[in-house]
């Protein structure tokens, strides 16, 4: 070995002092460059950034306390008041400011989306990677599990859980995460299957890398892009799911301002003319889901590995 090393160093003795070269462009940087050119995706990113801002700074942005019932201080005039200067989105039956409640509602929706995504990511990536990498009986079992969960009626599943435990925010996101992981596991499994056969993985094995190192250094970094797309698109439907659960009364409990709950309460007043109670939270859901979908579609194009040459 020493002989080799000597040879190496002597060959390099005359190494020129390389001029300061810019750092290499990673595939992430390339992806970001492509994403920035996509207007719709940037609109989606803006919507989500805006919603996130509202969620984080809700107490500063919201004009009123979302739970305070103004009928106690302002009397009957504050009940079901139409949109006005004081109440942009009007008030509800109890004299609560709908705008403030919609703003606070972003907290619930985004928390659910993020927390449920984390749950489904942890389960989905782990099981997907194990199934794809090890194959055989393990793969058969996990693939079977994926199909079972796909086929299982989701609401029935949550209902059966709620039958034993009281509904809570934690329960909602765990439940949503628990039924959403199969789509991630499927993506990860498929990617791992193709990536583990590549020559760079074989090269890693040839230099003596262990399974753990191969999975974490070589395979998973190449799976991240499609997973990000999957998760982004999934977040939209998670928000919808939370809203429907709450609408049915199994999600977040009153008086927590949740969009689904507001729609449910306001629906009885839709026909009698007090449309603002449920239409504004409905628009908020649409806008947020649209944001996630636009961004997800943009990411899919920007991170497409076929553009990676």
């Amino acid at each position: 070995m020493s002989k080799h090393e000597m040879a190496f160093s002597s060959a390099v003795a005359k190494q020129p002092s390389a001029a300061k070269e810019p750092k290499g462009r990673s595939l992430w940087a390339d992806g970001w460059r492509r994403l920035r050119k996509n207007r719709l995706a940037m609109l989606g990113l803006f919507i989500i950034a805006f919603m996130t801002f509202l969620a984080v700074f809700a107490p500063l942005v919201a004009p009123y306390d979302p739970i305070e019932q103004l009928i106690w201080t302002k009397g009957k005039a504050a009940r079901l008041a139409p949109p006005s200067k004081e109440h942009w989105f009007g008030t509800d039956l109890y004299g609560r400011d709908v705008l403030s409640r919609v703003i606070y509602g972003t907290r619930i929706s985004l928390t659910i989306a993020v927390a449920a995504s984390v749950v489904s990511l942890v389960i989905g990536v782990t099981l997907g990677a194990v199934a794809g990498y090890y194959g055989g009986k393990i793969d058969d079992f996990i693939s079977w599990l994926i199909n079972v969960i796909y086929a299982f009626p989701f609401l029935l599943f949550v209902l059966s859980i709620v039958a034993f435990r009281p509904a809570s925010l934690t329960l909602v996101y765990v439940a949503i995460g628990f039924v959403s992981w199969p789509s991630i596991a499927r993506v990860v499994r498929g990617q791992v299957l193709s990536i583990k056969e590549t020559e760079f993985v074989e090269a890693a094995r040839a230099v003596g890398a262990k399974d753990f190192g191969i999975i974490f250094r070589h395979i998973l970094p190449n799976v991240i892009a499609p997973v990000i797309v999957q998760v982004t698109l999934g977040m939209g439907s998670m928000i919808m799911t939370e809203a429907s659960l709450t609408f049915l009364g199994f999600g977040t409990q009153p008086p927590t301002p949740s969009w689904g709950y507001m729609i449910n309460q306001g629906r009885e007043y839709l026909l009698s003319g007090q449309w603002w109670w449920s239409v504004f939270p409905g628009l908020a859901i649409s806008l947020t889901v649209l944001g996630f979908n636009l961004l997800g579609d943009g990411l899919r194009d920007a991170l497409d590995p076929r553009l990676n040459k």
Binding site: E5, Q15, A18, R25, L27, E199, A204, A206, V207
Partner: protein
């Protein structure tokens, strides 16, 4: 040849099983990718391994490194039986045996910087860390004709030829004794091929490397090899030093292959042996001599009896009944 060979491969076999059925899957056959291959490589020499695609030459290279587990046979490297080593011993041995791949686009992880790619073997084997590793990576880059600042770049920022140099640097990082070159230039432009071949030859001279050079291009093999083995359907049919193979090929398959090399002289007329038909399936190889279905001179015995792979004089090994008869 007095000294013991660096690598000795004896009767190496790889059969890939074929399964059918889902619930009660059973083996219905096997692809006989490599079916009894025997050869040796001496220290500092280059053994060319040629054959059509699907003949098992790449599998042979991977079997030696145990990237694929052989079905049976022996691989001896410096007096150690490679196939009997446990996981940890095998990992340690990987310092001595490396591989360069065919596709320079698929063989580098697109999410890692070139520095991380070349530094990985150093990290895994604890050869160098931190600053020391960075320095070694830069040295390696210079050795293969790239610049030290390339370490911070990503593979997609390089051309095919440059990427192949990165692959060479990675293989070189652990100071290996043997490098399996699995068609290292087949995916490159002809003008780039020569550069990479020359690099490999320079490195061999500089570090005393031993190559198993797998290729389907006979002219490339002729340039770089000391001895050449010709494979057909999972078996070596002829193995001898370069000059006798190219000037005096004995096996009819070798003759056919050589006559297919284009000669850059339009006025030259030569007799060509054209092979008819396709390579038979390795799932169900022909009986007797595997080449008899396409051999222009096959006789009755070739259909029934498998010819032995024997030295016909001066280290010229060949597996053919007719060669033996004519002697």
């Amino acid at each position: 040849m007095g000294a013991a060979p660096l690598l000795e491969v004896k009767n190496l076999v790889k059969h890939f099983p074929i399964y059918k059925g889902w619930l009660l899957s059973r083996q219905v056959g096997s692809v006989k990718a490599v079916d009894g291959v025997t050869f040796t490589i001496n220290r500092g020499e280059t053994l060319g391994l040629v054959g059509e695609s699907g003949c098992g030459k790449s599998t042979t290279g991977r079997l030696i490194l145990r990237l694929i587990e052989p079905t049976s046979g022996e691989v001896w490297f410096e007096g150690n039986n490679v196939l009997s080593l446990d996981r940890e011993q095998m990992r340690a041995l990987r310092k001595d045996m490396q591989i360069i791949f065919q596709d320079p686009y698929a063989s580098l992880n697109p999410r890692m910087t070139v520095g991380d790619i070349i530094g990985e073997p150093l990290r895994i084997h604890g050869i160098a860390s931190g600053r020391e590793r960075e320095k070694r990576v830069k040295e390696l880059l210079e050795v293969v004709g790239l610049s030290s600042y390339h370490a911070r770049r990503y593979p997609h920022e390089f051309s095919g030829g440059q990427r192949q140099r990165i692959g060479v640097a990675r293989a070189l990082a652990v100071n290996p004794k043997l490098i399996v070159c699995d068609e290292p230039v087949s995916a490159l432009d002809v003008s780039i091929q020569a550069q990479v071949i020359n690099l490999l030859q320079d490195l061999q001279e500089q570090y005393g490397l031993t190559y198993l050079f797998i290729a389907h291009d006979l002219s490339v093999v002729k340039h770089i090899s000391d001895r050449v083995a010709v494979m057909y359907l999972g078996k070596i049919v002829e193995l001898t030093d370069k000059n006798s193979l190219y000037q005096n090929p004995l096996h009819p398959y070798t003759k056919a292959l050589l006559s297919a090399i284009p000669i850059p002289d339009p006025t030259l007329v030569r007799e060509r042996t054209l092979l008819e038909g396709d390579v038979p399936s390795p799932i169900n190889p022909p009986s007797g001599c595997r080449f008899h279905t396409r051999c222009p001179v096959a006789e009755e015995i070739c259909k029934h009896q498998e010819p032995a792979f024997e030295d016909v004089g001066g280290g010229h090994y060949v597996a053919c009944h007719l060669v033996k008869k004519s002697q």
